[in-house]
């Protein structure tokens, strides 16, 4: 009886010591991730989680960063600010060196006070311009600012002398942020907004708004939303015989949109990250190599098309990897090195962070694409 007990004690002591020894030999780098894997923003969170995990697996298969393995701790925010704050608190207490995500601007704004106070680098995957304007020392982002997309569309409109424009935006955070930028930048390009209508994220028929717009002699219609709203608008516009050119946002830049809108998507132009047209890019494009690798890996791992949402997480994880390689895995070092990132060719664009710019991208991060024959083509 007693000897048995003693032996058990001895064995467990050995186990504890052994595991402690292993732990000291190769301490892992803990990286936190906050993604809206479930809930209404899961179309962002799921590819982001997949992409981040994919990068981490690649890093570990190649022996880790500076011979240290990376451990990714993913927390689901469900797109809810309260849950995001709880999850971020937990990640910080668990001693992560940095956090990537959250997926939505709302979640990001909610966790910013926390990470700023705890001094933990955060690389957000959401688009809202106010995340990095004004610059916060510990907060970076990889998703392109909305106004870069707006700029791209407006330049195209001016070039084709289409200056009377109607807006139709969705009343959620993506749409309201887009609407704000569309209105703010119109004056600079000499564009008159003849209509400024909105629709609800769950609306199933936008004929009333489009009928009104038809009577206004607009020369172009810009719609800002994420699936499925814009596809419904494309169909409704086709049914009404609305003949003016239709522009969409980068919120629908995936094959899914063409599937949903069917033949009504023909001729629609929208700004998109390069990932959508990776194989159409010229050979000298700096991002081409990274893009093709991402698309191929994603296809191999998840049997689905890698989109630019996943790309935001891929970029965040790669930027973090670069920073740790250069300066080591401590929170202040990562922050300092992230800020020194120059000419990193990722999925979303070519990143140049600086002490005054934590979003790092220019309007060249976007290309204009047009639907032709049921697929995307580059607009020259």
């Amino acid at each position: 009886m007693l000897t048995n007990k003693l032996r058990n004690l001895f064995l467990s002591a050995v186990c504890v010591l052994a595991s402690a020894a292993v732990a000291t030999a190769a301490p892992t780098i803990k990286v936190g991730a906050l993604f809206a894997v479930t809930g209404p923003a899961s179309f962002l969170g799921e590819p982001e989680r997949n992409s981040a995990q994919m990068v981490v697996n690649q890093i570990n298969a190649a022996g880790g960063i500076r011979r240290q393995k990376v451990e990714l701790i993913v927390m689901d925010t469900q797109g809810d600010a309260t849950k995001a704050v709880q999850a971020a608190t937990r990640l910080i207490k668990e001693g992560v060196v940095a956090i990537i995500g959250p997926s939505t601007t709302g979640d990001t704004m909610a966790v910013i006070p926390l990470v700023e106070r705890a001094k933990v680098p955060l690389i957000s995957c959401s688009a809202g311009a106010k995340i990095t304007e004004p610059v916060k020392p510990w907060v970076f982002k990889t998703a392109q600012n909305d106004y870069l997309a707006v700029t791209k569309i407006y330049e195209h409109l001016v070039k084709h002398k289409l200056t009377k424009v109607a807006l139709l935006t969705v009343s959620d955070s993506f749409g309201s942020s887009g609407r704000e930028q569309l209105k703010a930048l119109a004056g600079r390009y000499g564009i008159t907004l003849v209509a400024d209508d909105t629709y609800g994220p769950k609306d199933t028929d936008m004929t009333p708004q489009l009928t009104k717009i038809r009577g206004l002699h607009a020369q172009a219609l810009i719609c800002w939303g994420t699936n499925p709203g814009p596809a419904i608008i494309a169909r409704n516009a086709r049914q009404l015989g609305l003949s003016i050119p239709l522009f969409m946002s980068h919120g629908v830049s995936s094959k899914k949109f063409i599937d949903l809108a069917g033949s009504a998507s023909e001729g629609i132009i929208l700004p998109s990250g390069r990932v959508l047209v990776a194989d159409l890019l010229p050979k000298n494009d700096k991002q081409k190599k990274a893009l093709l690798a991402f698309v191929k890996e994603y296809q191999k791992n998840f049997k689905a098309e890698g989109d630019h949402f996943g790309g935001h997480a891929w970029d965040a994880m790669m930027l973090l990897k670069g920073a740790i390689e250069r300066g080591g895995a401590s929170r202040p070092a990562i922050r300092a090195q992230l800020e020194k990132t120059r000419n990193f060719a990722g999925i979303g664009g070519i990143f140049n962070y600086s002490p005054t710019d934590h979003s790092g991208l220019t309007k060249d991060a976007f290309v204009l694409v047009k639907v032709k024959g049921g697929d995307w083509t580059l607009v020259k």
Binding site: D76, T105, M109, A110, I112, S171
Partner: protein
């Protein structure tokens, strides 16, 4: 007399447990979750007074919670008001709104009452989303200050824990007194039979509106506390889903019991944290647990002692018999 002493003893024990809890959780992330348990306890309690005691359903509780949050948030972030003043302002405004809409709404019963409170909740939700200049719209309102007293700021989980549970304990004390008073008995009478209550001389119509307003004021205070501890709010937290979640807390915890509100709030807030280890399947277990609990514990978590104690007593008797 004896029961009154029991009520007091129960309250003191509960308060003591709340006060010492941080010793076990300080430094961990769970303390942060316990702060939210405190907020949800207030909200569940508010709904329980209305639904559990007076028998009037509301599917718009998230709207009162949101109104409290947004009035507090907008007044402090946009107009530089003191957070404490904003809390009182929000509570008064929400109280007046609830009292005003209470008269027509509470004439309705059952499904119709549920529908109209649901409608109210949706209207307020749309209001938060569309008044972008004021509320920041769907992407939220940031820059809300913490509570502070002089130089002392409630900026850590520990400080906020005591602040929020201080309010929660006061609300529980108030509710315990209320339900054990003449008014509490009148409420239960309305719950069982409104006609009978009116025959007995209870002013049912006024009392229902009053308890509706009280419930709204409690929710508003919880909302202000939420806004000033989060320092950021967005409309997504105050949607229909949250109203349903509150309803679930009350039903799971135990209808018509003050401490049941706490148990329901604690379970529904903490459970997702413990289920995180199950990764993607957590939501399945979460749903399953709720279904099982409503099937086998219709009285709520608060009835567990009354299910377990007789069993234990029997066990004890048997053992004594053996000896």
């Amino acid at each position: 007399m004896g029961t009154e002493r029991n009520v007091l003893l129960k309250y003191l024990l509960f308060s003591a447990a709340v006060l010492v809890a941080p010793i076990f959780f300080s430094g961990g992330y769970l303390l942060n979750v316990l702060v939210f348990v405190g907020i949800n306890t207030m909200l569940a309690l508010a709904l329980n007074l209305l639904l559990g005691y007076a028998g009037q359903i509301s599917l718009g509780q998230a709207a009162f919670f949101g109104l409290g949050s947004y009035i507090s948030g907008v007044a402090t972030a946009n107009y530089g008001m003191n957070p404490w003043t904003a809390l009182v302002l929000a509570a008064v405004v929400v109280g007046v709104i609830a009292f005003t809409i209470g008269f027509p709404i509470l004439k309705l019963k059952g499904h119709y009452l549920a529908m109209s409170t649901l409608g109210f909740g949706i209207i307020i939700y749309i209001l938060f989303n569309e008044t972008i200049d004021l509320t920041g719209g769907p992407s939220g309102l940031s820059g809300i200050p913490y509570f502070s007293v002089g130089e002392f700021q409630f900026d850590s989980d520990l400080k906020n824990y005591f602040l929020i549970w201080g309010f929660a304990l006061l609300m529980i004390l108030f509710s315990v007194n209320l339900v054990n008073s003449r008014i509490g008995r009148a409420l239960r009478a309305i719950h069982d039979s409104e006609v009978a209550a009116r025959v007995m001389g209870v002013n049912a119509r006024l009392l229902k509106v009053q308890i509706f307003a009280l419930s709204a004021v409690f929710s508003s205070i919880a909302g202000s506390l939420y806004a000033h501890t989060m320092t950021f709010i967005s409309p997504a937290s105050f949607g229909f889903n949250f109203s349903v979640e509150l309803l679930t807390m009350v039903v799971i915890g135990g209808l018509g019991t003050v401490y049941g509100s706490f148990l329901g709030a604690a379970l529904l807030t903490l459970l997702p944290e413990f289920l995180r280890t199950l990764q993607d399947y957590d939501i399945v277990f979460y749903g399953l647990l709720l279904v099982l609990m409503t099937m086998f514990m219709p009285g709520g978590l608060v009835r567990i002692p009354s299910l377990v104690l007789p069993f234990l007593a029997k066990f004890k008797v048997r053992r004594q018999g053996n000896a």
